[in-house]
């Protein structure tokens, strides 16, 4: 059924009606490229020094450090390589062709148990989408009467599903079987689309090999909520330079919402895979394996809600980590061009970063507790000489490429939740990837220390070791490790800050959907 323009007025108090000030195309390409090139050379210089004979202190610690550094260097080089792809990305806002009115688009809004006040603006905005002939379908896995009434009131189709197997992927497949539009726009229940979304994305399908066009997921509540703001700053790096670079490398993957599919492509791969908790990531691998192209449009065309408290954030990250780590094997096995395969592995491998941070945390702890250290003592100044330029330029690259969107709190939160990566990788290793867990709705006003208890335990260990270290000796070496302890303490506590102070009380209409179908954000 064709969507009708509803006379229902918008709700101006909803933050999702705000305009984004974020520019996904910001960030100096040339300067970042130069800095990244120098940083890459310096990273090799550092690695060469680290691996040189005679560098080893305690063998086990040295090996752990080398592994961690090699992993992070790989990630860093991968990041710089990804950035290099931006020059080949599609210009922002390109209008390739006029979209004929006969073009049909099904707008699928999968919902589970999200509040109606969150869903209503999403549906309402979908009815105002311009370009082609739009049919809005509210795909309800909960069979709720109030949603049926909402659909009726707003003049959109209501599609309930009795059995909710396959979670979001199952819901979408259920809808795909009952619709026939040439294109399919998927919107999570909390993502309010701008009217021009289709006008900006559909023209890219003039290329018959394009399977889907992804647009950014912007968190409209980022300015109102500490946790959402932090989560957004992590997202911003991905949806800014990384996504543009991935597109340039032909490896942009689907992020679950604000994405327009060519139905033929979905049909070709058999719809959304229901055997993954990150169906978008798994589906993307299949799309690329099937020879399709993917496009990223760096323009904010929909506004969503980020997680508003620590528990919601942890749940989201945990699911992304498990899902993406599960995707490593399919990515390895897929018949993909090496560039695309590497991009998938880089994205999935990011969720192993927590292990390296665990190593970094342990090194000063072991040094202060036992006196053992990974690098031979006489190399202390040389370590600084080789490490500092690489470290500084790496941060500079992130800063320039992200145009300042990626912040310390975003970094600290990633590092402070290192244990999510550790736990997820162990779970994947033993085959316990888990199922969907619906993220709690709304932000808890009270502190949630339990949500980040491993972070707090790590901080406690650091404090204890610092006290022990201070009482034992006050040498330059001990002080150096104490400074590392202090550095880690600041990072851990900054990352755990939202859990310690609680979330800002959000307005009722801005409650996040907590949908478990968000796409992965891979910094």
């Amino acid at each position: 059924m064709t969507a009708l323009l509803t006379p229902t007025p918008p709700t101006p108090s909803d933050v999702r009606h705000r305009r984004s000030r974020w520019d996904p195309t910001a960030g100096g390409t040339a300067v970042a490229g130069v800095v990244a090139t120098i940083a890459a050379a310096l990273s090799l210089w550092y690695l060469g020094w680290l691996l040189a004979p005679g560098r080893m202190g305690h063998p086990f610690l040295y090996v752990a450090l080398v592994v961690a550094e090699v992993f992070n260097l790989t990630q860093a080089v991968g990041f710089w390589w990804t950035l290099a792809g931006r020059r080949r990305a599609t210009p922002a806002g390109a209008r390739l062709h006029h979209v004929p009115a006969t073009t049909t688009v099904d707008v699928l809004i999968p919902v589970y148990d999200e509040p109606v006040e969150v869903i209503a603006p999403t549906v309402m905005a979908a009815t105002r989408l311009r370009a082609g002939t739009v049919r809005v379908v509210l795909c309800d896995d909960g069979c709720r009467d109030e949603l049926r009434a909402l659909a009726r009131d707003l003049g959109v189709d209501y599609l309930p599903r009795e059995a909710s197997h396959g979670a979001k992927a199952g819901n979408l497949n259920h809808a795909l079987a009952r619709t026939d539009g040439t294109f399919v726009l998927v919107l999570d229940s909390d993502h309010v689309a701008r009217p021009e979304l289709l006008e900006r994305t559909l023209p890219h399908f003039a290329d018959a090999t394009v399977a889907f066009v992804q647009t950014p997921q912007w968190y409209a509540n980022a300015d109102d909520n500490e946790m959402a703001g932090t989560a957004w700053e992590q997202q911003a790096l991905f949806f800014g330079p990384i996504a543009r670079g991935k597109e340039g490398h032909g490896a942009m993957f689907c992020c679950g919402t604000n994405v327009v599919f060519r139905r033929a492509a979905l049909d070709a791969i058999g719809g959304f895979p229901t055997d993954s908790i990150t169906e978008d990531f798994a589906m993307s691998i299949r799309v690329h394996e099937d020879g399709w192209r993917t496009v990223y449009v760096p323009e904010v065309l929909a506004a969503g809600l980020g997680p508003e408290d620590a528990a919601a954030y942890v749940g989201q990250q945990d699911r992304w980590a498990r899902g993406c780590l599960t995707g490593i094997r399919p990515a390895l096995q897929a018949r993909l061009p090496w560039r695309v395969k590497l991009q998938y592995l880089l994205s999935a491998g990011f969720f192993l970063t927590g292990w390296t941070y665990l190593v970094y945390l342990l090194l000063p702890v072991v040094r202060l507790a036992t006196g053992d250290q990974p690098i031979a003592a006489e190399g202390a100044d040389q370590f600084l000489l080789h490490f500092a330029p690489y470290f500084g330029l790496s941060l500079l690259t992130v800063s320039i490429a992200g145009a300042g969107a990626y912040t310390f709190r975003a970094y600290a939160t990633t590092m402070a939740t290192f244990w999510i990566h550790v736990r997820a990788s162990l779970a994947v290793l033993v085959g316990r990837t888990g199922g969907f867990r619906v993220t709690p709705k709304g932000g808890a006003a009270r502190p949630q220390p339990a949500a980040m208890w491993p972070t707090l335990v790590a901080a406690l260990v650091l404090v204890s070791v610092a006290v022990i270290g201070l009482t034992r000796e006050l040498s330059a070496s001990a002080l150096n490790n104490l400074a590392f302890v202090a550095l880690h303490l600041v990072i851990l506590l900054r990352g755990a800050w939202p859990a310690l102070v609680g979330a800002a009380v959000p307005e009722p209409s801005t409650q996040p959907s907590g949908t478990p179908r968000d796409g992965p954000a891979v910094p």
Partner: protein
């Protein structure tokens, strides 16, 4: 008290007539008192004359505070009333106490017991006379004032001569007391039956503050001779006593000008003009005479033994002339109810004066210290009076200045920081360093010869020597005096940082930058050196500000500021070329980026071209210096046998010649100051915390205009110098790029201002300031600071110990200027040129830089030779300087 309007002459001419009349009375009184002293000298035996002189000093001691009280009572009738009720018993108690004291302990200070009675009269009479004269001034009774002034010398000379003949010194003392009493009678008779005019209507507290202000003035006038007596050699003290006596006479004539002024200045502005006209005229005349005829005058009055005072007389009389004018202005401020701030200001100058005097090593230095202090007092007071009298009030300038210094919390913080920064810089805790001694030696030369010497032997441009050359001719070459211009330049950093921080970021950032500038250890350290570094920092900041403004607005005045700063940089230090080049590159990048962004660049390009043309003209004269310097430098073997660039820097050599740790050490020095090597090792070991700073910079978005200049200037010169250090190790030294420090401080202030909440900014700023203060305290006070070389203490100790015929042997050879500065009278030779067999007296070896192996070897060999010839020497240490005395 009744306030009756007594008809009184008004108008400039009449005020002038009164001032001149009272001044003449004062001169008569002075001449009469001098005559009395001369008569006493003729009539009494030396012992008796000395006793009478001591009594006169005692009378002066009592009269000075009493005179200040007179000033207070002129200002405030309420104060007069309060004091008057207590005068009798205070006077009685003081008199009894002084009488008993002289009776018991007088002989021990040269006062015979017979003087107990006249001594007892002094306090009571002085207090009562002060109150009475205060009333006379307030009542505008100049005739009666003159009468009381003249009465004293008349009685002293008349009755005093007789009493001297009859009772000797005790009789003279009695005459002094009697003269005071009769002057009191004359004054009281003038008051009896005559309604008082309009005694000061200020509150008693204001009157008391006025008393405090005049007491502080009395300190500034008299404390120099006391301190010089206590600290300097007999010869220097004698020379200075002559200066004090003759200089004091110049001030004497205008001593009462403020008293005459104060009752009228509120109602009639011409009163101030009259007082100023008289004091300026007398001051100029006295200074002219003293400058032109200083030598003959001194020889004629006090004889040839004091001829050294002759060349200094003009300088000291000028100081007293300035003080006389300052007294008038201070009286004016007090009369306008601004006595409290005036008292504070005068007190601060008195403290500065003490500090300057404490470092003076010669009579010339002490005279310079007094001249600087009185000039400072006059300058500050004149500025305040300009505001008080609305000379500039109502204009945009006044509003802007007031808004800048006290309008809101950040401005007040910056103003206080400026004051604190100034005081901190005046508290110098070390003697002259080698380079300073060289600079002073150069500044002592005639100008042409100095420039020639710089071109042939120095490795720096001549700006700071030129500044010092002019300065030492005004203020002398005392230890602190030679540092004053650079202290002031360093202190100017704080308000300028506020202005730049406010312009580029926010008022809060400006205030934090000002605080950091005031207490930054390295900024304080180098502001205290008679070298170019404080000028270097100041010019750097001006250049950076000018460029930031030029890039933003591109107005001609912005470019002019840029040219001034850049010119100053290159006239100050050759290594500033690193900063200048960096700034030029930033300009180039700015133009290129503007073009790419399709922004208009023509205005910037033209301004840039104009600035380059201006720079070319202003820097051209440097070619006359740089060429010969390069030739001489090459001729010496690229810097051999010159003073070390890297001293006290063993912490910077942790891992050899040039290392990342050395870079880190220099970075720590830049922000935290100089500390003991052990401390530096620990501080540098905490480098991981710097990673936090790097993390904190994440997510800061696009830089504000100007930040690019600051970041470039803060980092690039240091890194380039580090690279140059790979070619020649001793080139890498933080002070060579100290121009980067203001940029670093501004960036730190900006970082502290990043928190969204005010409390966060205040906390961050406070933390930075506290860290700086801790670093500053350790740097300035910790004896283990390896940069502290106690050449002053070491050489003075040798000078005190040396007997005629003794020889001082020094090593290395570049210690010569510092030896010549602190002990020019010593016979000093390089250690290597000493022949023990041809030296009769003892040999004092002064050696330093013994942590450097070649130096230690050379000194060790020479000491062994001396020990063989003279036996074992006695060794002592003074702050990185070793002294051996061989019999």
């Amino acid at each position: 008290m009744t306030s009756l309007a007594t008809p009184y002459p008004v108008g400039l001419r009449r005020h002038l007539r009164v001032q001149v009349g009272v001044g003449a009375g004062q001169v008569v009184a002075g001449v009469g008192n001098l005559l009395f002293s001369v008569i006493a000298a003729r009539l009494l035996a030396p012992r008796g004359f000395a006793s009478l002189t001591a009594f006169l000093a005692l009378a002066m001691l009592v009269a000075v505070p009493a005179g200040s009280l007179a000033a207070g009572t002129v200002l405030s009738s309420a104060l007069h009333d309060r004091v008057a009720t207590h005068t009798r018993w205070v006077g009685a108690v003081s008199s009894v106490a002084l009488g008993v004291a002289v009776g018991l302990a007088g002989p021990s200070v040269g006062l015979p017991r017979a003087m107990a009675l006249p001594a007892a009269a002094l306090p009571a009479v002085a207090l009562a006379l002060a109150l009475a004269r205060g009333q006379l001034y307030a009542a505008r009774r100049p005739g009666r004032v003159i009468a009381t002034l003249v009465t004293e010398p008349l009685v002293r000379v008349g009755a005093g001569t007789a009493l001297l003949l009859v009772a000797g010194a005790a009789g003279g003392a009695l005459a002094v007391a009697l003269a005071g009493a009769l002057a009191l009678v004359v004054a009281r008779r003038g008051l009896a039956g005559s309604p008082l005019g309009r005694p000061g209507g200020l509150a008693a507290a204001s009157g008391a503050q006025g008393v405090a202000a005049f007491l502080a003035l009395a300190l500034v006038q008299n404390q120099d001779v006391l301190l010089v007596n206590a600290r300097l050699s007999d010869d220097a003290a004698g020379t200075f006593a002559v200066l004090s006596m003759l200089g004091g006479a110049a001030l004497f004539a205008v001593w009462n000008a403020p008293m005459v002024l104060m009752p009228d200045t509120r109602d009639d502005p011409s009163a101030l003009r009259a007082a100023l006209a008289m004091t300026v005229a007398v001051g100029v005349a006295a200074t002219g005479v003293a400058t032109a005829f200083g030598g003959p005058l001194v020889e004629a009055l006090v004889g040839a033994p004091y001829r050294d005072a002759g060349p200094l007389l003009g300088r000291y009389v000028a100081a007293m002339a300035l003080l006389g004018v300052a007294r008038v202005l201070i009286g004016d401020r007090c009369a306008h109810g601004r006595a409290r701030s005036t008292a504070v200001l005068t007190g601060v100058v008195a403290v500065v004066h003490v500090a300057l005097l404490a470092t003076a090593t010669t009579a010339a230095g002490a005279a310079g210290a007094t001249l600087v202090s009185t000039a400072l007092l006059l300058g500050l007071t004149a500025g305040l009076v300009a505001f008080d009298h609305r000379v500039v009030d109502g204009s945009a300038v006044t509003a802007r200045i007031r808004a800048a210094v006290w309008a809101d919390a950040p401005a007040r913080v910056a103003t206080v920081a400026t004051g604190v920064g100034l005081l901190l810089r005046f508290v110098v805790t070390r003697g002259l360093w080698l380079d300073e001694a060289i600079t002073v030696a150069q500044a002592r030369l005639p100008f042409g010869e100095m420039i020639d010497t710089i071109a042939r032997t120095d490795v720096h441009p001549p700006a700071h020597q030129a500044v010092l050359w002019a300065w030492v001719r005004v203020a002398g070459d005392g230890e602190l005096a030679v540092r004053v211009p650079f202290v002031l330049a360093g202190a100017a950093l704080a308000p300028l940082l506020f202005a730049v921080g406010r312009d580029l970021y926010s008022r809060r950032a400006g205030a934090i930058a000002a605080v950091l500038g005031a207490v930054a250890p390295l900024a304080v350290w180098y502001s205290q050196e008679a070298r170019m570094y404080s000028l270097y920092m100041l010019c750097s900041l001006v250049a950076v500000w000018g460029q930031a403004r030029a890039m933003r607005a591109g107005r001609p005045r912005d470019w002019a500021l840029f040219v001034i700063g850049t010119t100053g940089l290159l006239w100050t230090h050759w290594f500033a070329v690193l900063q200048v080049a960096t700034q030029q590159v930033v300009l180039l990048v700015h133009v290129v980026r503007s073009r790419r962004a399709a922004r208009p660049v023509a205005r910037t390009v033209w301004g840039w071209a104009g600035s380059l043309a201006g720079l070319a003209m202003l820097l051209a004269p440097l070619l006359l210096v740089v060429g010969p310097q390069l030739a001489a430098y090459a001729g010496r073997g690229a810097g051999l046998d010159v003073t070390p660039s890297q001293t006290g820097g063993s912490a910077a050599n942790l891992t050899g010649d040039l290392s990342i740790y050395r870079l880190a050490v220099n970075a720590v020095w830049a922000v935290a100051g100089y500390h003991a090597n052990e401390t530096m090792v620990l501080l540098v070991a905490m480098w991981p915390l710097a990673m936090l700073a790097a993390f904190a910079m994440l997510g800061r978005g696009p830089w504000r205009p100007g930040t690019d200049v600051l970041v470039a200037v803060a980092t690039i010169p240091m890194l380039v110098l580090f690279g140059l250090g790979a070619l020649k190790s001793n080139l890498f030294e933080v002070r060579y790029v100290i121009g980067s420090l203001p940029a670093v401080l501004l960036l730190l202030a900006r970082a502290a201002d990043l928190p969204r909440r005010r409390a966060g900014t205040v906390a961050a700023g406070t933390a930075l300031a506290l860290a700086s203060i801790v670093g500053l305290a350790d740097q300035q006070l910790n004896a283990d600071n390896p940069r502290r070389y106690a050449f002053d203490a070491a050489i003075r100790s040798v000078a005190a110990d040396a007997a005629p015929g003794d020889v001082v042997a020094y090593a290395p050879t570049f210690l010569a200027p510092v030896l010549s500065y602190y002990a020019p009278e010593l016979e000093a030779r390089p250690l290597t040129s000493i022949d023990p067999d041809r030296t009769d007296g003892r040999i004092h070896v002064v050696a330093s830089f013994l942590d450097e192996q070649p130096q230690a070897s050379e000194v060790g060999a020479a000491l062994a030779e001396l020990e063989q010839a003279r036996g074992r020497g006695e060794r002592r240490e003074a702050g990185n300087v070793s002294i051996w005395t061989f019999p």
